[in-house]
């Protein structure tokens, strides 16, 4: 079993899920491997441990997440803290290989580097082998291309990065691989232009004018 873990707070609506769907189709499309981390950790221990056990007993775990303030979203940290304790308390001997895919709306995939390094350090500290970290820039544009096949030149770098995951799964290297960038081929200016247009459209839908977006609701003193 290779759980493809969607660790986005946006759950079903997330770019992380779009990326994972592409990856599942590329590697091994099995419905039972799909896992969306709940935003709130279940209070019932059994329910929580069922999720942790799925990750812990796997051969490979692939976690996709959005970059939130330069790192993992807080709920992913919470889940990883729980996983770490779970492994410690249960003296877990299984060691799934950890892969991570970070995406952000910014064009520079490089901005995801440290968040992936945190993943590598998590793996080391918890006795898990590291597989590969993939950094995806222009996440919003990727989501807009959900239906574009991986064979398309627009997703050339994505499929190269996914090849990296597939190779690492079949022939693991002792130290894992260096980060790969996996964004769609799209001009930076267009990514930012469409992003900005999206904010204006969203505001209009909510009955706001453009200038309302600049509101400063709280006092600075």
């Amino acid at each position: 079993m290779n759980p493809y873990v969607c660790a986005s707070p946006r759950l079903e609506k997330s770019t992380s899920l779009v990326i994972l769907n592409d990856l599942r189709r590329f590697i091994d499309d099995r419905e039972e491997d799909r896992l969306i981390l709940p935003l709130r950790v279940p209070e019932a221990v059994e329910e929580r441990e069922k999720i942790l056990e799925r990750m812990n007993s796997a051969e490979n775990v692939i976690v996709a997440f959005p970059l939130y303030v330069d790192s993992w979203p807080s709920h992913l940290i919470q889940w990883m803290e729980l996983w770490s304790r779970f492994r410690g308390a249960e003296k877990k001997t299984a060691s799934p290989r950890l892969f991570m895919i970070a995406n952000s709306g910014f064009p520079e995939s490089e901005q995801n580097r440290e968040a992936l390094e945190i993943g590598r350090l998590f793996a080391e500290k918890n006795g898990l082998p590291w597989g590969l970290g993939i950094a995806v820039g222009m996440g919003g544009s990727y989501r807009g291309m959900a239906k574009v096949p991986l064979e398309s030149p627009l997703k050339k770098r994505v499929s190269q990065a996914f090849h990296g995951i597939r190779e690492e799964m079949s022939q693991p290297s002792p130290e894992g691989r260096e980060m790969m960038a996996g964004e769609v081929a799209f001009p930076r200016w267009l990514n930012n232009f469409l992003g900005t247009r999206g904010w204006y459209r969203g505001a209009k839908k909510n009955g706001l004018r453009r200038k309302d977006l600049y509101a400063r609701p709280y006092p600075t003193r």
Binding site: P73, S74, I77, E114, A115, E117
Partner: protein
């Protein structure tokens, strides 16, 4: 827990400082015990919040704080107060167990819930794309990561991560100060650097 020091005439030139802390273990509690009196003494006004006292909702990524209620989070919990405190303070100190080179979940949620201090648009800074700040006046963020037997890699990653956060949220100064605290002795350098004092 909230403690507000009183205003006094000789503190007028000092800063308003706010400390958010996730201090669940012995070292964390010892650091907090030393930090709190220093914070009160060195501030014109100060506030201190225990992030474990009350859980706040994680950011849902709904972007309401950008396009529905600009500047305000959709969650009406204590996170709203934390956001206001960050905006009205000169300096924000975030004390967290150093967690694989980053912040703990309890500390990170404070940062995630603060994206309303930014605008959704894009601008280029230092060769990278970032979001511009919503407010003209910006607080200084001091990242405080603590832990025992930390490796150089963990410390280095925490420094890089703190710098990135500072670059992204464009807090002042440009190089976001970051302190690694492995014992209460390490607080001396923090007090020296941040002064009593500003």
């Amino acid at each position: 827990m909230l403690t507000l020091s009183t205003l006094s005439p000789n503190r007028e030139d000092k800063m308003r400082q706010v400390l958010f802390h996730d201090t669940r273990d012995e070292l964390g509690r010892a650091l907090l015990e030393e930090l709190k009196p220093w914070l009160e003494k060195s501030s014109r006004e100060s506030a201190c919040y225990d992030l474990n006292a009350e859980e706040i909702a994680p950011c849902w990524g709904c972007f309401s704080c950008w396009i529905k209620t600009p500047g305000q989070c959709i969650h009406r919990d204590k996170g709203e107060l934390y956001l206001k405190e960050q905006i009205r303070s000169d300096r924000v100190l975030l004390l967290s167990p150093l967690t694989w080179g980053g912040f703990s979940a309890a500390a990170k949620v404070v940062l995630d819930r603060s994206i309303g201090t930014l605008l959704p648009f894009f601008e280029r800074r230092k060769g990278e794309t970032h979001h511009p700040p919503r407010y003209e006046r910006r607080s200084e963020l001091i990242s405080l990561g603590y832990g025992e037997n930390l490796t150089e890699r963990e410390k280095d990653l925490f420094r890089k991560n703190s710098r990135n956060i500072n670059d992204n949220i464009k807090r002042e100064p440009e190089e976001g100060p970051c302190f690694i605290l492995e014992s209460t002795r390490d607080l001396d350098s923090l007090k020296k650097r941040l002064g009593g004092l500003s």
